[in-house]
Symmetry: C2
Subunit: 251 residues, 2 copies
């Protein structure tokens, strides 16, 4: 999958592929901000479970994938300068700097595999869609220049599956753990399910479904934007870092 | 506590007392129905977790309490004949029969202790109230003459506590396990939170609370009524069997 992405042969969202491999959010910051960003992730582990960090200047993280090249192996990137999105390239080789530090953070795509194994129906996958994201009014714990609201991903589940998904996902803190909310979007500051963060993802509920919300790695993007870093680079939407780490067996 | 109940010195609901002892629902049926009732309980273990059964004719269950006398040690009883409530005595010594078999089934009062230990706020307890019960449209698994809808108990919790309570209670299947529903009463056939089963219990939600519903032992009462047993006796409302079994330590 990484080779296909690298060579431009796979350009879709990664949620429907590489289901047995852990996927992750990407955040690349200049080294001057790396310690603060790591502190922010560790202070908000439900949103930002740290699964890998590169050495300064290295686009590799051997612990999560032997041949991973973070300059080419992600299907889309967002480049932010001074708090503004300036580009969405498919390759960041030309932008790479010797002081870049890359962080890979756990992603809900990984626990979706586990939910499916436990018989939870994920309608957005059946429809070939991704889960929608929303900005809540739940604050994160600040660290250095990083602070801001929690971003969540939403899945539409039957009431029984909402409980089952809660119990299954809680066992995997490295993939965001248990949901932060079930049911009433307005209770966490979401006024309109149609208005998702980034504008993508399945937003409509059937009559017998409840929205279930999990902490989301996109929380890091909001915080990095608000911190007006001179430069940072993240993955774009649902184009995640595909690692070699296996999804644990469901028990 | 049992001695106080036996001697008429304690006449309140048992949810605020004996917090470190497992409490249970009581169902007494003629021996002719005992096998079917046990099958019904085993087929619906979330509602009817079996924690004790007496020998025919014995009002004692030594496994759950050495000196328990089920004719006198419950604060209130309901006597049903042919599917109708005919009496609510405080003592059933005069009604006891040599063919009676008593079942004690786990009760949510036991997991409330565990929720409190985990920091979940239970407002109904702060107000000296019990949890309200509701009849849902979720069917139980029939066995012999026993069938009918699932009865649930409701607690008003903050969204965060709803998730926490789900994870804690799930570890204790003997006390009903995880909730069956969080959030939207109408999704499980409850149209009016004010109209609780039996008419008691805290029914009002604050703006920042969600209703969380657990399977409830009162499910057995509904099933026994619908089966029109010639005679059966249950505990009355929140007057539970107080056992000597300890509430497990929270981990």
């Amino acid at each position: 999958m990484r080779a296909a992405i690298r060579h431009g042969e796979f350009t879709d969202f990664t949620n429907l592929v590489a289901r047995n491999s852990v996927q992750g959010n990407l955040m690349i910051v200049p080294q001057a901000y790396a310690a603060d960003f790591e502190a922010y992730a560790r202070a908000n582990p439900q949103a930002l479970p740290l699964i890998g960090r590169s050495e300064p200047g290295s686009p590799h993280i051997r612990e999560i994938a032997e041949d991973l090249d973070l300059r080419t192996d992600v299907g889309g990137y967002m480049v932010f300068r001074d708090g503004a999105l300036v580009d969405t390239p498919r390759d960041i080789t030309g932008l790479w700097r010797e002081d870049f530090v890359a962080f890979v953070l756990g992603c809900s795509f990984s626990f979706e595999s586990l939910l499916l194994r436990h018989g939870v129906r994920l309608r957005h996958l059946e429809q070939g869609d991704v889960s929608a994201m929303y900005v809540t009014d739940i604050p994160t714990v600040p660290a250095g220049p990083f602070e801001g609201p929690l971003v969540v991903s939403m899945r539409a589940l039957s009431p029984q599956d909402a409980i089952r998904a809660t119990l299954v996902s809680a066992r995997y803190p490295q993939f965001h753990g248990a949901p932060v909310h079930i049911g009433a979007p307005e209770m966490i500051g979401i006024r309109d399910l149609d208005a998702s963060y980034g504008g993508h993802g399945m937003r409509r509920l059937e009559a017998d479904e409840q929205p279930v919300f999990w902490a989301c790695g996109a929380t890091a993007q909001i915080a990095a934007l608000a911190a007006r870093l001179p430069l940072c680079i993240t993955h774009h939407k649902a184009h995640m870092v595909v690692t070699d780490l296996p999804i644990p067996d469901a028990d």
